[in-house]
């Protein structure tokens, strides 16, 4: 579809989805390169020169990015067309798409239910066919979770394989930018463009270049590790088990159940890290040089993380929260490292529960529990993808495939094979 067609569709239908916060009426590309003519939506926490990088917050409501993030530069260099900035949970704090200061995002694949978050607008834009693909950021599942709820593909690349220069951070030791797309091949194409070392992101590293032809090949001699983790919604587990059985039968792959010790502590490890790093990262939003003071304009979830992070990082609590979580993070890393010596990939549902109705009352702990199966890949630095696995009463269910760090190509290959069943 052409840019004009997409723009017309967005103008007509965005009101009921609220996927876009801003569109570029004059969007155009160079017409040359791997992404020539492809239309891309960008999460509103990634800088696109001249566009409003608001993080869906009143704090940065009028902030215009003065430069392109590295991933945006790479996309533009390959002829990609940036069509607009997508809605999200405020400052990426949330997993439902409800915490945006500019109204929640709606789920085109399951009307009335949350689209997931925090890359809610990017997932909804892809699901609503407002663009060819989108960029999101994933700190604990923020790409994979909305991909699962909206029935699209979402990739969290290996930590440090994609530059975060120009990303407004949530938690720098965990954040990763990645693609959302309608299928695995499109996600692989976008990832192949944005990956690579960048001197402007000090932790970024060179990783194996994704070969798009290899992604299309069915991998042989694969051993799938089916995550042994108790999920209360048996229907979700059934959808995943069925899909894995079908793949094993069709391709002759082996399947074995695998336990990852300490994975049940993932949420308890993740949130102290995020609270403290987010508190630290938001000290620049003091309203003096640009924007407004974050504490005066942020919503409840952003404040919870700032106030909580401020409290637990006090000197009197040294070693009790952040440092303890860092040590526990290492345990998870080691257990994944051991697991990937036995299996090629680890498969689980992306989210252990179906999405709730927008505006439902839910406890903070229950909200955080949506992330329990996505957070481990961020803690270990692995790559992970969510692909549509089926539906339960019309609601999309995503399947997560995790691979070892820098095995992104193999992960995409396995995901593509699942897609071909």
């Amino acid at each position: 579809m052409s840019v004009k067609n997409y723009l017309d569709k967005i103008k007509k239908e965005n009101k009921k989805i609220n996927a876009f916060l801003q569109i570029d009426e004059n969007a155009k590309g160079s017409g040359k390169g791997k992404l020539a003519g492809k239309v891309i939506a960008v999460k509103a926490n990634i800088n696109v020169k001249g566009m409003n990088t608001s993080c869906a917050s009143k704090t940065l409501e009028n902030y215009k990015a003065p430069y392109d993030a590295t991933v945006i530069k790479k996309i533009k260099d390959e002829g990609g067309i940036i069509i607009g900035m997508t809605n999200m949970d405020e400052f990426a704090c949330g997993g439902s798409g409800e915490t945006s200061a500019f109204n929640p995002t709606f789920n085109p694949a399951a009307p009335g239910l949350i689209p997931g978050g925090s890359s809610s607008g990017s997932a909804s834009a892809v699901a609503a066919d407002f663009c060819d693909f989108a960029l999101g950021s994933d700190t604990g599942g923020s790409i994979r979770n909305p991909a699962s709820h909206c029935g699209v593909v979402g990739v969290k690349p290996s930590y440090s394989s994609v530059s975060r220069y120009g990303l407004i951070d949530l938690s720098m030791s965990l954040d990763q930018i990645g693609p959302l797309a309608k299928n695995v091949s499109d996600a692989a194409l976008l990832l192949s463009v944005i990956q690579g070392k960048d001197d402007k992101d000090s932790i970024s590293q060179e990783s194996k270049k994704i070969d798009l032809k290899e992604v299309e090949k069915i991998p042989k001699n694969i051993t799938i590790g089916l995550l042994d983790y108790k999920i209360s919604d048996k229907k979700i587990a059934e959808v995943i088990n069925k899909k894995v059985e079908m793949a094993a039968r069709k391709y002759g792959w082996m399947v074995k159940k695998i336990k990852i010790p300490y994975i049940d502590l993932a949420i308890e490890i993740y949130y102290p890290l995020v609270y403290v790093e987010f508190f630290s990262g938001t000290r620049k939003f003091d309203g003096r040089r640009y924007g407004k003071k974050i504490e005066e304009f942020a919503g409840p979830e952003v404040l919870r993380r700032i106030l909580g992070g401020s409290e637990i990082s006090k000197a009197e609590y040294a070693g009790r929260y952040y440092h303890r979580a860092l040590k526990a993070k290492k345990l998870i890393e080691e257990e994944f490292s051991k697991a990937f010596k036995k299996v090629d990939c680890i498969i689980s549902p992306t989210v252990p529960r179906l999405p709730h109705k927008i505006g439902s009352k839910i406890s903070v702990e229950d909200m955080y529990s949506y992330d329990v199966l996505t957070v481990p890949a961020n803690l270990a630095g692995n790559c992970a993808i969510s692909i549509p696995a089926g539906k339960i009463e019309g609601i999309p269910v995503g399947m997560q495939i995790m691979c070892d760090r820098f095995k992104d190509e193999k992960m995409l290959q396995i995901a593509r094979a699942f897609e071909k069943i």
Partner: protein
């Protein structure tokens, strides 16, 4: 305590409740982690080949939030030491509020 997660302006009273609740959640998380304290090791920084050599030429940028970037003169070490409120040969003495813009 259950509530919806839709954005709304936060009152002073709610702010206090949020602060207490956040601490309470963090306490319960920390308590669960304390049960595996014995199994944990000190986190180490794996540098391997990731350590970067500082170039003699400056590769530091100052980003102006209102537009554009400007290149800073000197190595990043020189720039950092130049801005430091107090310093010795090999370290910086930093005090809260003492760092000049």
């Amino acid at each position: 305590m259950a509530d919806n997660f839709l954005f709304h302006e936060v009152s002073d009273k709610e702010r206090e409740e949020i602060k207490k609740q956040a601490k309470c959640i963090m306490d319960s998380f920390s308590e669960k982690l304390s049960k595996v304290d014995k199994e944990m090791k000190e986190p180490t920084i794996e540098r391997k080949n990731c350590e970067r050599e500082e170039s003699s030429e400056c590769d530091c940028y100052e980003i102006d939030p209102l537009g554009g970037t400007s290149t800073l003169k000197g190595t990043s070490r020189e720039i950092m030491f130049g801005n430091a409120p107090g310093k010795n040969a090999d370290f910086i003495i930093a005090e809260k509020g003492g760092w000049r813009e």
